[in-house]
Subunit: 139 residues, 2 copies
């Protein structure tokens, strides 16, 4: 690895009924519950313009992940051959940044309710971005 | 901001003809050049399974960004009203993580050539993920 390091500062925290990563759905469209994103008051201005119905990408820090894992069985299925983590969405990877596409349900000051978030309670939020059409197949 | 911090470790570096962030395209589909991702040998196993033609999300650390910016004119256009950075793709934001959707052109050991990357030469790479259909509108 390179010698220099980069410091992320959490901008908020996930508040969710999901507390057990083992039973959490692997993707948000696989039955994940709605959740609150509780942002730090210091970044409140960054939320200006966010509205119910917006489709956003929430970037989290998957704090329970194992950063030493480089190869996995996809989706934890031992019958599937091991592959490098960069070809999977495994949370275990050198920099476990979670990427979650969700819809905004409610915005209450610095608290944002989102639909179908597969992150467990207490997961740090590090960034939020609007979805662009170029993010998936229709570019 | 919260008291705890998170340390990212670069897993590679962008090698690109783009050297000036001011003239760089704002999105990869706006005329960005092909580029090399030069990965650290220590994470080589994480690349196993990556093949030409794969559509991937490259996560970078936008090291030239201003982390104190919370509101911007979208796309730097002063005629557009200021909005919170979480509703824009501005590189200036509290945690300037770049999200780039690109196609893999070539894999040569720990060097991966990708098409249309809008990051400047020397940008740290922090993660690579496969594109899922749920990442944009077709979920």
């Amino acid at each position: 690895m390179e010698g220099h390091h980069i410091e992320l500062t959490p901008v908020g925290t996930v508040e969710s009924a999901l507390t057990d990563s083992a039973s959490a759905p692997k993707q948000g469209d696989e039955g994940a519950p709605d959740a609150w994103l509780a942002f730090e008051p210091a970044v409140g201005a960054a939320l200006d313009g966010l509205r119910p119905g917006d489709e956003i990408l929430v970037l989290t820090w998957l704090h329970l992940a194992d950063r030493d894992v480089l190869r996995v069985h996809p989706r934890g299925d031992a019958t599937r051959p091991e592959t490098g983590v960069f070809s999977t969405r495994s949370p275990d990877r050198p920099n476990p940044i979670g990427l979650h596409r969700v819809e905004v349900a409610t915005v209450e000051s610095t608290r944002v309710r989102v639909r179908g978030l597969e992150a467990v309670d207490g997961t740090p939020v590090v960034d939020v971005k609007p979805v662009l059409s170029g993010d998936a197949g229709e570019r």
